[in-house]
């Protein structure tokens, strides 16, 4: 089967890509603005196409624990939700990280805190990249900026999850989840028949029993385990950084933005250049690991950096850590479900960095 061109919503693209990637199980609970993922999966009947399990759980809490159970069996399993639902899943995500299980979690984020709004936001950045639940752990976080990337990151996400035995999050937002674009979908893959050696599948006589747990009551053993996790995250930081640059070669001013904000900033670069301001854009594709080294390099040759986010200022902290005081770093954000316009981004660049 060849690649197929379709016009789809971001949410639908995630669902179809999940089926085609040979996902074994999806467990979810409805929440706006990502309910199309579960709806699409139920409608597409992947249980008939590939044998994939699709289950509407009684809660986000149950759904993430189903993911834990499926992942413990060595299966390719995933869930999706939006901000309040992702908060509910945090305990389970911590257990999954603590048991070193691979899985994919999609957050089609909306504005908060609390029930907030159903409009798009990027205010779950801290929760996604700093751990989110209790304990010393990180997710690998992928930030799609198009419907195409919503689809592509499903397979990439599973690949990274299994490579590092670590949960992976696709941090999207309501705009990318809801908007329609053309998307190239890959051919249908078969569900994997291989069973990882650590998977719980029933103890056969030729091996020791497998136990999936995150519990170790011996402080020394627990510390040793956390050190192992730290070493894993170090390797991920060294190996898996992904980003995209747009007109950075001769840039004097740099926007740093991901997802929907990066799309806005791409236009802002063009508008700024029309006004004679040499702007460029760095778009982190992985938010963990963060492209700190590259931002640090660019910071040496630009006059100022504007971190543009649909939040009150979260990623800007990581930009500042990377820049380490070499150059001015400012934040511009809209909140509450509002997407900034390219013009107001340029205006902000002028007022905050160029000094009016």
């Amino acid at each position: 089967m060849e690649k197929e061109l379709r016009l789809m919503k971001g949410n639908e693209a995630v669902a179809e890509a999940a089926i085609r990637a040979g996902t074994d199980g999806y467990f979810g609970y409805p929440i706006t603005p990502q309910s199309e993922i579960l709806e699409y999966l139920m409608d597409a009947r992947p249980f008939d196409r590939t044998g994939m399990i699709v289950l509407q759980a009684e809660s986000e809490v149950a759904a993430i624990n189903m993911v834990y159970g499926g992942a413990g069996c060595g299966k390719k399993v995933m869930t999706s939700s939006s901000s309040p639902g992702i908060s509910l899943k945090q305990e389970g995500i911590s257990y999954i990280a603590g048991a070193e299980l691979p899985c994919l979690i999609v957050n089609v984020a909306r504005g908060g805190p609390g029930l907030g709004t159903i409009q798009p936001a990027q205010s779950d950045y801290f929760q996604a990249v700093k751990g989110g639940g209790h304990g010393d752990y990180h997710l690998i976080v992928l930030a799609p900026a198009s419907v195409q990337e919503m689809a592509d990151f499903v397979e990439l996400g599973f690949e990274l999850a299994f490579k590092y035995r670590n949960p992976v999050m696709i941090l999207s937002d309501g705009a990318i989840g809801q908007m329609m674009e053309k998307v190239w979908l890959g051919p249908q893959k078969e569900r994997s028949k291989s069973v990882p050696e650590w998977a719980v599948t029933g103890k056969s006589p030729n091996r020791e029993r497998n136990i999936i747990t995150s519990l170790d009551l011996d402080p020394n053993a627990q510390e040793e385990f956390v050190r192992k996790l730290v070493a894993k995250y170090k390797k991920i930081r060294e190996t898996e950084v992904r980003y995209e640059e747009f007109q950075c070669e001769d840039a004097e001013y740099l926007f740093v933005a991901y997802g929907t904000s990066a799309r806005v900033c791409q236009k802002s670069v063009q508008l700024a250049r029309e006004k004679g301001i040499k702007a460029g854009l760095l778009r982190p594709i992985t938010l963990f690991p963060f492209p700190s080294d590259r931002i640090k390099e660019i910071a040496r040759r630009v006059k100022g950096i504007l971190s543009v986010e649909m939040s009150a200022g979260q990623m800007v902290e990581d930009v500042r850590l990377a820049v380490c005081g070499q150059v001015t770093v400012k934040h511009f954000g809209r909140m509450g479900g509002i997407i900034p316009t390219p013009d107001e981004v340029v205006e902000n660049l002028k007022s905050e960095i160029l000094g009016g």
Partner: protein
């Protein structure tokens, strides 16, 4: 030396009237003297061994006194978060439908923090076995009030006895799940006398056999004791259990396939 020789003589295979099942590991049990958990573990291990299911069984252990259960029975295990075992088991069974999947949970785990997961797994009729140890107290955390603590019963968070007006009534989860169409076999047992141990073992065997039919959830409550939490000797605790717990949580089957069938036939007859 003479003593040791004596023990060696006694544990010779031909002299053994009672033997530890090969599925119990060498790890020392983490339970207080007189606790019912060890007996239920043994029953489970014996049934899995006798039914030849070691390589086809996946257990899901809880948070509570039996959190380390995965150390004691030689099968594959997943350790669930507090209350979430039925959700974890749901996915395991859906993804590996040929396996025997069971959860083992205490009253706090199953009937308080995990109420939703318990009811919904049973309501979907997941083809798993849920083993529910009800001793009316949070043992591991030091004897706090549980959802199943009896009215007037003292615990560290109901030091003057459970006042149902402010603390609610004991929750009969087994009675609740028996009303759900998704459950196939629901029974309440105990392990405080040899006769009850035999009955409980029979119930576990039935459940293990029923789950092969893929006809719904099997649910076994074991009313048990907690000598440490109840601040009693093992003997006193068994006596107290019989006099106080069993009248509130009467032993016996709450739902059997035979009874369900009879009811269905009766309904059909009435409709004719």
């Amino acid at each position: 030396m003479a003593e040791i020789t004596g023990i060696k003589e006694i544990i010779k295979n031909e002299n053994l009237a009672y033997k530890r099942t090969s599925l119990m590991t060498d790890n020392t049990l983490s339970y207080c003297p007189g606790c019912g958990h060890g007996t239920v573990h043994r029953i489970l291990a014996e049934i899995i061994e006798e039914e030849g299911l070691q390589s086809d069984t996946i257990g899901v252990s809880p948070v509570g006194c039996s959190v380390l259960l995965y150390n004691f029975i030689d099968i594959d295990w997943q350790e669930a978060a507090h209350g979430r075992a039925p959700a974890v088991a749901t996915a395991i069974k859906r993804l590996l439908p040929e396996k025997f999947v069971f959860t083992y949970q205490g009253d706090g785990d199953l009937a308080a923090i995990g109420t939703a997961e318990t009811i919904h797994a049973c309501n979907r009729g997941e083809n798993i076995l849920i083993i529910f140890i009800n001793n009316g107290i949070y043992g591991m955390t030091g004897g706090q009030m549980a959802p199943t603590t009896l009215p007037g019963m003292k615990s560290s968070t109901s030091p003057f006895g459970r006042d149902v007006k402010t603390m609610g009534n004991p929750l009969k989860m087994t009675d609740i799940v028996a009303t759900l169409p998704g459950t196939y076999y629901v029974t309440r047992q105990s392990v405080h006398t040899p006769a009850n141990v035999r009955k409980a073992k029979k119930a576990v065997r039935k459940a293990v056999q029923y789950q092969k039919l893929n006809s719904g959830t099997c649910f076994i409550e074991i009313v048990s004791n907690c000598p440490s939490g109840w601040k009693m000797t093992p003997v006193q605790s068994n006596q107290w259990m019989e006099e106080n717990m069993l009248p509130y949580y009467p032993l016996g089957d709450l739902k059997t396939p035979e009874e369900t069938q009879k009811k269905q036939t009766k309904n059909l007859d009435e409709n004719d």
